[in-house]
Symmetry: C2
Subunit: 538 residues, 2 copies
């Protein structure tokens, strides 16, 4: 089997994504996750281009993967030894260096403004300089496909200059993302026929026509043996080829699985979903539900017909086993769902209900009515479980909220600075006892954490006999969307909670009033925890 | 040129997306948008399968596109005339009907539990029944590619049964999304060679390996002449082939543009971005920034090197002109940006700044420091403009906020029902005049709209001489994310506002306190409007 090498550029090209800005610590965290996954190369950034990237290379994490610095070929008119940009890249001290250089004649003469010959010489000199400094050298052939179509002879001369100077890899880049897979495959084949061996060829695609993954696969099929991409397809404009999709396809799908091997183990592949979500967590992004292989919806069977077939044999509607990539099958709840979906979903929550139980129809009706009001139960599974328990008569009344009041104030303090403070009063009845709790939004460091924080603290401050069960409850995420509830715009709040046992659950609240919606979701979060921990109602 | 037909299934397969549930009115709105775009077929849903779909067909919108009802082939053991599922589909009264049927032997015998011969007969009888009722008949060959790989003879027999019964289109479906583009192309070619003409063949792919678009293109290249897909790639699991990506590729990219024509005009193509965003608006989804062609980032040039090349010639980093699909080029602001990006962005806001102006460096520093605190200026362009104006000395002090207080209360009313009410007091100084305004969160219908609404009303209630300028300001969207600000979790609020002139702008606020963050974004929204309308400071 031929070896295919995986080159990750999340930390460099991925950082070109609009809205993405990694800190140095985050870069180190992502590099370690990539290393645990088993990619062959981690491109860390462009030393000297910005403070974050420089600091990352100074920290220089120890990796099994080959840490690679990115830069560009030397400027025409100075020697490789005297080029400051090249010097910064070499001084980063990484085992490998990747230099981007131009191969499209129009870019050389018009964007760079140098002669075609000088550019070829600059490529050769720069790569030679890296090799003389003991580095593994890679050459990113910018705009290669457009360049090849415009002037194939010149584009190939640029590749040969890098190859003859000792570049380990020549990477064909479709920089503006405009080349379609068939053409990528054909041109890659022609490059190999022209004398650049496939085992020194890489492919770097962008997703501007939504075909970056297919373009990479076409290049591999044509003979390229290195694939460049990013986690979750981050990258300039529409993003780079998504390694999270490419890795399982190369490892699991035919004809790739039989023809090629990668550096990734089956064990590491089972961590793929976690790695993908870790990146979203670092970016504070909601993970793409529909992402191939790793999305929360990737193995979600919503259509009633599909769900019942899946129950007989998962192979009917799943092209791979979700567990292999660390994902899981789900049967989402919604008014599209039939009773067989519903029973499966209830069973997942530990609730066995007989097929004929009239509660099933009632639950479907309530879900339907509440989704029309703006609730979303296929995300907020814990709230769904509570709703079902209520209809099944399996939800104890642990306590009752009588009223609450939250105040947010912003004014000048005695030092003439504007400061804010929130205060919440919550009145609950636990058994026969009425309990008034008050909390403010200040944390240990004296910072105001806002009204939902104050409310959450006041609510959890004194629930009497339940206090112990909720001590380890922690709010980990909070999402708000304006949505349609009937004919009105309402606010939907989804709260993700976690406890000391590492369990994580989502609850939903809907109201035109943001604080109310949050309070409803908070209440569900506490109630679910009491149910799951088997608290005894007073 | 060969005609390629576009078949949209957003209203049927798109509705299988986890979290998506269209109302009948929304279905009508989407059908009209698809019709304006110019697709050939609009699949409206499955009449009889759920109340929303049935109501949609009862409303039966008048379209230029061929409205199509979806259903399945008749059950074995009853005649086509007596099959209730088939009857519901025929009774929908659409000019075309698409029936899904099995073509994979394992599914026929194991999932359906009937003989292979009976299934073939059911396909023929069902299609013949449609034709006899004067309908254009389509046959969706479910799991065709898996079926063909397992038992090519049987899979082809199923297609022939539909064809001989008079089906206008035989659609090869990769139902579980597991077939890669090369294989789709090869098998489509083999089907044509086996006698099903390409101009009666359609392709229906899913995105489970992130190659649905490429798979559809491969089928067209092999001879298929109908493409099924959805807007924004909605659909079961990872979604269907994304028509929003396929349409511009078929119309603009070679070799497709020269070989094929579609029913979509260049004018309609210029509405593609708007159509894509309309769907997200209906779904209350944040549009995918990185979507091919239509994403807000699709023509965003963040890397400093790219941005300066783009300024010389857009063709350097753009594979198509963004205007052709109704999108626009943007140079996002971030700490990755160089001064040339910044000057371009300022010029877009009508601020011409000389290359040597020291304010440029200051603006970049402030952007960098504030993005580290959690702000995001590449989304909130209006807040960016205000920040720049402040540094350039071009931001008048219109008014000053001295303090505010918001109270949210929830308690029982006199009818013993839990009700909420928010009240906000805002104190501003306009010139020498101090103004106290109070508003509550109740709207005209007596519904509580929450604390940010109360605050927004109190702030806009009496700004003295500026009152006229802000009368037509309207808050249209409100997004909240928990994000990292330095070492602390903070809340970022993005507010989208609109005015009577149809202008729309985004502002940002960041604080650990949600209400504070909202207030900051509201303040920016008002200030931007005053600046843009040329209000004279008191």
């Amino acid at each position: 089997m031929d070896r295919v090498y995986l080159y990750d550029t999340t930390l460099r090209d991925g950082q070109q994504t609009q809205g993405v800005q990694f800190s140095t610590e985050e870069k180190v965290q992502i590099a370690r996750a990539l290393d645990a996954l088993g990619v062959d190369y981690v491109e860390g950034g462009w030393p000297g281009a910005n403070p974050t990237d420089s600091a990352f290379f100074e920290a220089l994490p120890k990796l099994d993967a080959t840490l690679t610095a990115f830069g560009m070929t030397k400027r025409v008119g100075r020697s490789a030894e005297n080029d400051d940009v090249l010097a910064a890249v070499v001084n980063a001290g990484t085992p490998a260096v990747c230099l981007v250089g131009k191969t499209h004649d129009f870019h050389v003469t018009d964007a760079l403004g140098v002669t075609l010959e000088d550019n070829v010489a600059a490529i050769g000199d720069s790569v030679r300089h890296l090799v003389q400094n003991g580095r593994e050298a890679l050459f990113d052939a910018e705009h290669f496909f457009d360049g090849y179509k415009a002037n194939p002879g010149y584009a190939l001369d640029c590749l040969r200059a890098a190859m003859e100077a000792g570049a380990r890899w020549i990477v064909l880049c479709d920089t503006n993302g405009g080349t379609l897979p068939e053409e990528i495959g054909r041109i890659t084949g022609e490059v190999i026929a022209a004398g650049v061996p496939g085992d020194r060829l890489g492919i770097h695609t962008h997703n501007d026509t939504e075909t970056a993954v297919a373009g990479s696969l076409a290049a591999v099929m044509a003979g390229a043996r290195q694939v460049q991409g990013t986690l979750n397809g981050l990258g300039e404009r529409c993003g780079n080829a998504n390694l999270v999709s490419l890795i399982p396809t190369l490892m699991l799908k035919e004809p790739y699985a039989s023809l090629f091997e990668t550096g990734i183990t089956q064990d590491a592949l089972a961590g793929l979903t976690r790695t993908s979500r870790l990146l979203d967590e670092i970016l504070n992004r909601v993970p793409q539900k529909q992402a191939a292989y790793v999305g929360a919806s990737a193995f979600a069977h919503k259509a009633g017909l599909h769900a019942s077939a899946i129950a007989k044999d998962p192979a009917t509607y799943e092209h791979v086993d979700p567990g292999v990539v660390g994902n899981a099958r789900i049967i989402p709840m919604s008014n599209q769902a039939g009773q067989s979906n519903l029973r499966k979903r209830l069973a997942d929550a530990g609730l066995e209900v007989d097929p004929g139980d009239p509660a099933l129809g009632r639950i479907l009706d309530v879900v339907k009515a509440r989704e029309a009001d703006g609730y979303a139960y296929d995300t907020a599974q814990a709230s769904f479980e509570l709703l079902a328990r209520r209809e099944l008569g399996l939800l104890p009344a642990f306590f009752e909220v009588k009223r609450y009041r939250v105040t947010v104030e912003r004014r000048k303090n005695k030092y003439d600075r504007m400061v804010s403070l929130s205060e919440a009063v919550v009145v609950v009845k636990v058994g026969d006892e009425k309990k008034l709790s008050v909390s403010e939004s200040m944390d240990e460091s004296g910072n105001d954490r806002g009204p939902v924080n104050a409310l959450s603290k006041a609510l959890a401050k004194d629930l009497g006999p339940y206090q112990q069960a909720i001590e380890d409850l922690r709010l980990v995420d909070f999402k708000v969307r304006i949505t349609q509830g009937g004919t009105e715009a309402v606010t939907r709040v989804i709260i993700d909670s976690e406890d000391g046992k590492g369990r994580r659950w989502s609850t939903v609240g809907v109201s035109a009033n943001l604080v109310d919606a949050s309070f409803e979701a908070l209440l569900d979060a506490i109630t679910w925890k009491l149910v799951r921990d088997g608290a005894t109602p007073v």
